[in-house]
């Protein structure tokens, strides 16, 4: 018997939605809902059956529960027939489940789209929903397993897809997308209802207007990228992480589970990422699982780089269990010197020639100096010799290229070190992919900062000090950082290590920084000697200088 997602949940006990009411879907063949007639183009589909699910938290719960009670015993050939015929499950229990899902999704999406802070109340005991990518998809955690549901356009039709496999459990997402047909499951139906309710909630005249206002909801508008993106969603009751991984227009959920291998069994279990995508042959080794493993490794490294010994700084749930490296115990941890050397080597590369940056004025303004001073003060607030870590993530507000505002879709987080003149700060940086296809890294121009790499941020005052040593001191870009690095290592603004590596880091930073500075053309005119446009200067002294 093919089961829907809620049917599967019912066998796992705690993973079942409304466990008291739904044992199995018996009334599934009781005819179609508004969806039975097929998905209408545009927003026409979204009007079907959203009673009780208008987005208000729990407003439809009672009605849905009563309906679920009446359908508690319905099971049999009619349900199997309905599933095989790809008809939606309209049993009272299913409708109640849809209502419940819709309620939770509405709250989650309303919070994310409005930019509010998500509270702990959003995490229920068993069912945990999290909108990822700024609302591009919603991960529904059901006990140990999770599904992800999203909406997209396909050949002019708005469809809702879910990774659960549909009512039959084996629906192909690719086929559904090609057929322009939504997944036949409770999650997709709930999302459809939620979107309709959000249109009214946000006072938009139509679904099209609503989607134009929030394009992140439309996954077809997300540019295709070869970069593997991983979004942390939520965690299980046992603190195991749930992730969502978009790939080629399809979302997959990946959960962290204990992996018992032959060699690792003696030393205990190793937490590894396991994919739930139906078409992945090996859920431990598929690309989705590998992406999550890499992400977890990166997050752990970022936390170590930031000087923290606890949880990764990139994950909002501090106690979440992430994937562990299989070979971690065999490989000795890198020493501080090796890590500093590797970071300095990476920083020294001129790898940002194709990277967008923001222009800066040649001279600091008062506001920037004040901001940098506040960063300096913050860096001094180290506890027990550690590195302070402010809350929040640094990201660019607008796209470099098209000027679009920040979209939380397709983001990638990294941990970084924030160097000030008085010390270091651990920060979380975020890069996001704009709809125009531009990777928008954090640049810091509007914050009095300069992000040299994706893991290294400097205050403008620090970089300007080096530049001024070069310019005003008639020094070189080699000697000035050398002197400054010695000074900064005494204030822990730079990590202790080989001075030459720090010097290379500073040299690379100044090199990159100088490319972003707008030098007014008027600085290159001598008001005393300039005579006329026809003959600008009557005398010129010229000479070459080897660098």
């Amino acid at each position: 018997m093919q089961q829907s997602s809620s049917d599967v949940s019912s066998k796992d006990g705690p993973t079942n939605l409304f466990n008291d009411y739904v044992g199995d879907n018996l009334g599934g063949g009781a005819g179609g809902d508004a969806h039975a007639g097929g998905d209408g183009p545009g927003g026409g589909e979204s009007g079907g059956g959203d009673a009780g699910g208008d987005g208000s938290d729990g407003s439809g719960r009672d009605g849905a529960a009563a309906a679920a009670l009446g359908a508690a015993d319905a099971v049999g050939a009619a349900a199997r027939h309905a599933a095989a015929a790809d008809e939606p499950d309209d049993s009272p229990g299913a409708l109640a489940a849809v209502d419940r899902y819709a309620d939770l999704m509405a709250v989650e999406l309303a919070v994310v789209l409005s930019g509010w802070e998500r509270t702990a109340g959003a995490l229920s005991t068993i069912y945990r929903l999290a909108a990822v990518g700024g609302g591009a998809a919603v991960v529904v955690g059901e006990g140990k397993r999770a599904v992800v549901v999203w909406k997209t356009w396909s050949r002019g039709r708005l469809i809702h897809l879910c990774s659960c496999g549909g009512r039959s459990g084996a629906e192909s997402l690719g086929m559904r997308q090609w057929m322009s047909k939504s997944t036949n499951c409770l999650h997709a139906r709930a999302l459809r209802r939620v979107i309709a309710s959000l249109v009214r909630r946000f006072n938009k005249p139509s679904l099209d207007v609503f989607l134009q206002r929030y394009p992140v909801l439309d996954n077809s508008a997300t540019p295709a990228t070869s970069k593997r993106q991983v979004f942390y969603a939520t965690k299980t009751q046992k603190k195991r992480g749930f992730f969502a991984v978009p790939c080629s227009g399809t979302w997959s959920t990946v959960s962290v589970r204990p992996c018992v291998g032959k060699k690792s069994a003696k030393k205990g279990r190793v937490m590894r990422a396991a994919c739930t995508h139906l078409s992945c042959n090996d859920h431990w080794l598929c690309r989705h699982a590998k992406a999550v493993n890499d992400w977890c490794e990166e997050a752990r490294h970022a936390a170590e780089l930031a000087g923290g010994t606890g949880s990764p700084a990139l994950v909002q749930d501090a106690d979440v269990l992430l994937s562990e490296s299989m070979g971690r115990k065999r490989r000795p941890p890198p020493t501080d010197a090796a890590r500093v050397a590797a970071q300095a080597e990476a920083d020294a590369r001129l790898s940002d020639e194709s990277r967008w940056r923001n222009a800066r004025n040649l001279l600091l303004c008062t506001g920037e100096i004040n901001v940098c001073e506040r960063y300096d003060i913050l860096s001094e607030q180290a506890v027990a010799g550690g590195i302070p870590r402010p809350a929040g993530v640094l990201y660019g507000d607008t796209c470099f290229k098209c000027g679009a505002v920040y979209q939380a879709a397709a983001v990638k987080n990294t941990g970084g070190i924030f160097h000030t003149l008085r010390g270091r700060i651990s920060v979380s940086l975020q890069q996001w992919l704009c709809a125009c296809g531009t990777d928008d890294f954090f640049d810091g121009a509007h914050h009095g900062l300069f992000a040299s790499t994706t893991q290294t941020v400097f205050t403008r005052t620090l970089v300007d000090v080096v530049a001024q040593i070069v310019f005003s001191g008639h020094s070189t870009l080699s000697s000035a950082p050398s002197v400054l690095c010695f000074l900064l290592e005494t204030t822990k603004a730079l990590p202790a290590g080989r001075n030459s590596l720090s010097r290379q880091t500073i040299t690379a930073v100044v090199h990159r920084y100088s490319r972003t500075v707008i030098v007014p053309a008027s600085l290159f005119r001598c008001s005393r000697c300039f005579s006329s446009p026809l003959r600008p200067y009557k005398a010129v002294v010229q000479d070459g200088q080897v660098i």
Binding site: L350, E353, S354, R355, W356, R357, N358, A359, N361, F400, K401, R515, T516, I518, V519, P520, A521, S522, L523, F524, R525, C526, R528, C529, F530, P533, L534, R535, P536, Y537, K538, A539, V540, V541, Q542, D543, G544, Q545, V546, I547
Partner: protein
Amino acid sequence: MKNKSEPLLKTTTDLSTTRMDVEIGCSLHQAAARSAVRKRIKAALDESVRLTKEEYKALSHLSMAGILTPDDQVVGSVHSQPATVRSACGAIFFSFFKISVAVRRPADAANGGDGGSNDADVDGETLAANGAGTVERLRAAVAARRGTVVYECRAVEEAVEGSEDKTITRDRWSIVRYFLHTFLAQPLVGAFAGLDRPAIRDLTMQLILAPGAGDWLSASGALESVAVAWPFFRLVGTDDDADPLLLRAIGELFLFAEGVDTLWETRWRSLASPASLAFETAWKDTPVSKYNAWAALQPSAAVPPSLLSAGRFSAQRAVAQALETRTGHVFPDLDAVRPYVTDAKTEKVNADRATRAAAGSIALERELNRVLGADDCRHASITSDVFMPGVENFLCPCGLLVEFDFLDRAESPTHALATQVQRFPLLPNVVFFDTACQLARNAQWRLPWLLNTSSCHCFVDRLHNVGD
């Protein structure tokens, strides 16, 4: 850094050099005469300089020309004539030096060089040689009897007023030697570049027409900045008994030097390639819009995509900076008015040299020795992967950096000229450059019209002027 730096992409046009014959700009047309003058100038003052037969012959003709009285010039129609210039050169040179011819035999040297009283000794030695009876000795004896004809050039000691202080006398002769070396032994193209030409012409006319009147003294300020000319002028012309013929000769020489730039420009037009002439026609007038229209048609002149996000007030400057980074020309305040000129011929020669040099380290060293000299600076950027060729800075006399260029090869006068041609509608009056002579020569070969129009003078600064 060199290997990791971005390649510079410049929008260029070819402007090859036009070779200049040395005789075009020289007051002395005979190479032997110039050689003799140089030889005399470089030698010590109290030494007699041995000349070759050709040099002696050339100087003999020059002395004859100097003796002749030149034709009078007519007021309002003062022109420089080759014969007059030649006469002037002879008059000036032989005012300070004299030539002689003598026959010397080996016995002369043994007896102190008194050639007039040793004929008997020579005969006796010849007889002794005959006594030996060998053919070789006989031949040697015949040669000794005939003697060796020696051509010499000596200084006329009383030509320059002497002084009890030998240093002063030596300095006075140094003035004479510098003047003769510059105006007689070297091409004079560009000698008066950048100066007030009408004032110089006025001075020369007064010297030619009325050298004894003394009015030229007030006009001699035209040569105040020519450190080779005015000391000589002061040395020979301020005395009351100054030779009017010598002053007129100086005037004729200055008149020739003043007009030689125009002469070369005229000659250049008959020798230059069609591309060079077309460049002159196209870029004599230099509105910025004209260059922009030309650059827009060049495939390599497309504005590079800037990856610097800037506000509306800085957007234009950000684009300009991206262009500066790509081309290496950092001229924020000066728009380009002409294409960046390159020399395909020279680059081909350099490429061939580089190919030969790339054969190996020994070959490279040999090539550098040949091109630069064994003791010259190597410019480590030629072979180093660490050093870039560097930048070329352009400063105003105040010391403010008005522009700079990134170099993709070693600094050269070609690059220095191309940069100025690109940005200056009229070149500066004075360009201080470490190899000013090469810069001026390169400009004369390629753009004499621009150099003359701009009245541009290349000058070497004191720090680089080592050895003179």
